[in-house]
Amino acid sequence: MAEFIVRDARVDDCDGILRLIKGLAEFEKKLHLLRTDTETLKRNGFGEDKVFHCFVAEARDHKGTDRPLLVGYLLYVWCFFSLSGRVLYVEDLYVDEDYRRKGVGSALWACAMKVALDKRSAQMQWCVTGWNTSAINFYKRLGSENLGKNEEYISFMLNKDSMKSAYSRISRD
């Protein structure tokens, strides 16, 4: 059995998500740019006027406090590209260091692809920092198209066909 489950985030996950956001900021060497807090996450992800959506990975059999232990998250927004229509834009994907190479990233990505397909998105799109080779390899294995490259960020895209194909592969694993 996998050591984790993936699910939709809930409003009381926001403390845990903030901890993971800090982990991502440290990983990207951008901790000095972090200017958010739990209240901002609650308002923008779970309020009436919410702007982002989130999947979380939770450790199974966590012996500790009653609160779930979150070990990864994927945060996305819906975009509208006037040429193509609805697009799922992945803003963040992050897995705690102790839980890497266990399929957490793939499981979170599969959640995002499923909702993108269910909502008939034309595309998924996201960026990755140019030095993050393990992430880049993950995206290439999914069949993502590199939209172009600047010095710092690489922009990737999965269209409808490559999403379906990647989803059926990942959800079998």
Partner: protein, 179 residues
């Protein structure tokens, strides 16, 4: 010092407002004109129905501000001469972002302050929602647009496939609006 251009003469017979569902056919017409301008006509994959569903249905994926020229006589109907289409995005380290997807003014109505007025409308929406940023892209050969953005104090962020990405942070929006 960079300043948001306010010394233009507003066209007296143009109104700026939030788009309504009935505007979708006209907005689609302008989207196609923009696609021609950008040499991307082959990439237009949406219709007026897409706009109605995704902009005016239960789940609104985008919002739109339009510039409408009043009818000159009883026989004419008013028509849209420009639009700004945006959606809400999120920068995890910072907060809410207003992402401008399209800004377009029809050819005969350029250099009359229409784009500036549409942009000012969007900035007010951004401030009202306590946005931390506005962000958008522009094609690197679109020198008129690039000049427009530079004058308002926007920052060039990166370059990919010939697109430039610009940003106004919260301070810049407030500063531009006080001019």
């Amino acid at each position: 010092m960079n300043r948001f251009p306010t010394s233009y003469t507003r066209m007296a017979d143009v109104t700026y407002r939030h788009a309504e569902k009935d505007d979708c056919d006209e907005i689609m017409r302008l989207i196609k004109e923009l696609a021609v301008f950008e040499n991307l006509v082959h990439q237009v994959n949406i219709t007026s129905e897409t706009l109605k569903r995704d902009g005016f249905g239960e789940e609104k994926l985008f919002h739109c501000i339009v510039a409408e020229e009043k009818a000159k006589s009883g026989a004419d109907t008013s028509q849209l001469i420009g639009y700004l289409l945006y959606f809400w995005s999120y920068a995890t380290f910072t907060g809410r972002v207003l992402y401008v997807e399209d800004l377009y003014v029809s050819q005969n109505n350029r250099r009359k302050g229409v784009a500036s007025a549409l942009w000012a409308f969007a900035m007010k929406v951004a401030v009202a929602k306590e946005c931390k940023r506005m962000q958008w892209v522009v094609l690197d050969w679109n020198t008129d647009a690039i000049r427009f953005y530079q004058k308002m104090g926007a920052v060039d962020l990166s370059k990919k496939e010939g697109w430039l990405i610009y940003r106004l942070n919260e301070d810049d929006i407030n500063a531009a609006l006080t001019l």
